[in-house]
Symmetry: C2
DNA sequence: GATGGCCATTGAACTAGGACAAGAAATGGG
DNA sequence: CCCATTTCTTGTCCTAGTTCAATGGCCATC
């Protein structure tokens, strides 16, 4: 039941026997059907969730109504709008399940409790956020400097399982270009490779 | 001497009387002249520095030799390559002083010591990184969705003091376009406003 | 007061990617 | 199994931003 999340925890920090039960007692199990919004723009984020099964994306919508996918999250990832969650202020993001999901959820109260009762998790969350930040720094750099072809090739190399799980236009919105253009990029690659 | 950093700490966490002296004893004071590289690509980052005075940027260089500025940091900000620092692995970044600086520095050992002896700082660093992450998420979204004019206007509104302190082509490299184009954007704005 | 090196500006020609439109292919719910 | 809807493809035209090159301003230094 808790194998996946326990393994995740142990990957980042060393825990005493007392710590994991504290976590387990605070996690709330949820099953969520696909196409469900876990968070909408304007709402305050009350969820920080570990994905046991399924696929989720979070995205923004700009003033012209087009979407930018910030992240795809699958098994063994956490999803949240961390800024909205931490400060309990309105979010700019949407979080949507792309498949039926099973989640382990924290809310602001239970996360608070967790960090009080098992402070070692403070370190885990710090390291998680640091990795996230480092990844996003790289991605910003890549977004600015590379071409569409390079971005796409890097994406399928880095996240080889995602294209099989999500619709192509979501990938376009992650990469920052139009669905039509992604399609053209793909035919170009197909033609040049055979 | 420690006023600025103490105030910074108190903005994010509540400390006991014992905590700040621990921090003070571990910080190393450094004066660094302008145009100094604190970190170069390929090196392992050994510094996490609080800027007491001065201006610093960190940037990447892509395979064609052009620079992308990830961040300008001024008084009351921290600079580091957090991924390289945490894992002691080679960095992809450059960190360069743009003005003469006075810094309070941690290295991997002293930061470790700090987090052991005054664990409340674990929380401070987590919250710092979270804010950084949230800001970068916004920026990625903006980079993808907005025009050069919008990016520039947002920049000067958000960081009004930076344009007076750094050369214009650094700002272009932050915004993700060529120096020539930034110049054109500025004349366009100038003409349309008077 | 001259000189050299950076920096910003301007212009012209070019290109990556977008917007729009129309059709084809897949998917899924009844 | 069929129809409706979503998703993907292809083509044409268009624009935001790039690259390259030339010019001139602004220092710092001797």
């Amino acid at each position: 039941m808790f194998e996946e999340i326990d393994q995740y925890v142990r990957r980042w920090i060393t825990v005493t026997p007392a710590d994991l039960p504290v976590l387990h007692s605070l996690l709330e199990y949820r099953e969520v059907p696909k196409k469900t919004l876990l968070l909408q723009e304007g709402e305050i984020c009350r969820i920080e969730a570990f994905i046991q099964k399924g696929c989720i994306r979070n995205y923004y919508i700009d003033e012209h109504g087009s979407e930018v996918t910030l992240q795809f999250a699958i098994e063994d990832w956490w999803v949240s709008d961390i800024a909205s969650f931490q400060d309990q202020k309105p979010s700019r993001m949407f979080i949507e399940t792309l498949e039926d999901c099973t989640l382990w959820c924290l809310n602001p109260q239970s996360k608070d409790r967790l960090l009080k009762d098992a402070p070692c998790f403070e370190r885990m969350f710090r390291i998680m956020v640091q990795r996230n930040l480092a990844r996003l720094q790289e991605r910003l750099f890549q977004t600015i400097t590379t071409t569409a072809v390079e971005k796409y090739l890097d994406f399928i190399e880095r996240y080889p399982t995602i294209p099989q799980r999500v619709a192509q236009h979501y990938i376009a919105s992650y990469l920052g270009f139009s669905p039509e253009f992604l399609s053209k990029v793909r035919t170009k690659l197909r033609d040049s490779r055979g």
